[in-house]
């Protein structure tokens, strides 16, 4: 679920409408998964985890107004306070469970900055009230979870980094009050 407040300003020249728009809300992302087993079919004991959080966006918007209906595209920057993690909390001897070694890892990084592009349609139900439907793609680029390997094993005490990319498709339904 995404829930957000939105504010903006439009200018109009004939059928051309352009403006700036800001969003502030909650992008409650969740997901986790394991890498594929290795070439020998042995599973891996470290999983990727995504956790959502608050979110903010600022975009330029340009559209074509057919009287009370506006078709638009938008693009700009986004920031997410959510986190991407790479976590190994399985301690064993590689045999049982298979692939689970002695070391652990708890590496996290903020999702951080990205860009957004989107398109949508907005309709003025009344002179002051509009409803809109929008698709946007948020590309948060790369985060870099980092941590020191713990709990033993050959690499204990070594600082390691993992590259993590995140992209999110969104569909939003909104209502705006114009003043």
């Amino acid at each position: 679920m995404i829930g957000e407040l939105q504010f903006g300003h439009n200018w109009q020249r004939g059928n051309l409408v352009y403006g700036l728009e800001g969003d502030l809300g909650y992008l409650n992302l969740a997901g986790s998964g394991w890498p594929e087993p290795d070439a020998d079919g042995v599973p891996y004991d470290t999983q990727g985890i995504a956790k959502g959080g608050w979110y903010a966006g600022l975009a330029a918007r340009v559209g074509y107004a057919a009287d009370r209906t506006l078709f638009y595209v938008k693009g700009g920057a986004v920031y997410s306070g959510g986190k991407l993690g790479y976590v190994d909390n399985c301690i064993s001897d590689f045999i049982d469970p298979p692939g689970c070694g002695p070391s652990t890892l708890d590496a996290w990084d903020r999702i951080g900055w990205g860009y957004q592009i989107g398109t949508g349609v907005e309709h003025a139900l009344r002179d002051n009230w509009t409803v809109k439907l929008e698709y946007a793609y948020l590309d948060f680029g790369s985060a870099r979870p980092s941590a020191v390997v713990a709990s033993g094993g050959e690499y204990e005490g070594r600082l390691v980094h993992v590259d993590a990319d995140l992209g999110v498709h969104t569909i939003k339904l909104g209502i705006n009050y114009k003043f």
Binding site: N10, Y137, G167, K172
Partner: protein, 75 residues
């Protein structure tokens, strides 16, 4: 992504053409004006992918690196 950029460019391009071909709205016409400030709220749904690559984590190990692609969605 390339396709989306292209689609956006196409929409923008055709918008410009349509705008150029449209007659200017005459003064006194009662057409709705979009000009002004607004505030509102949104609800929605999101889904995506996170891709992990641990080649630096597992450098020099024979069966590595691994990479993971995980599905994410809003809850």
């Amino acid at each position: 992504m390339k396709a989306q950029f292209f689609a956006s460019a196409l929409i923008l391009g055709s918008m410009g053409l349509a705008h150029a071909a449209d007659p200017v709205v005459a003064a006194g016409d009662q057409a709705f004006s979009w000009e002004g400030s607004y505030i509102g709220a949104h609800i929605g749904y999101g889904w995506g992918k996170a891709r992990y690559d641990d080649s630096e984590y597992n450098v020099n190990l024979p069966d590595f690196p691994h990479s993971a692609s995980i599905l994410t969605r809003t809850v």
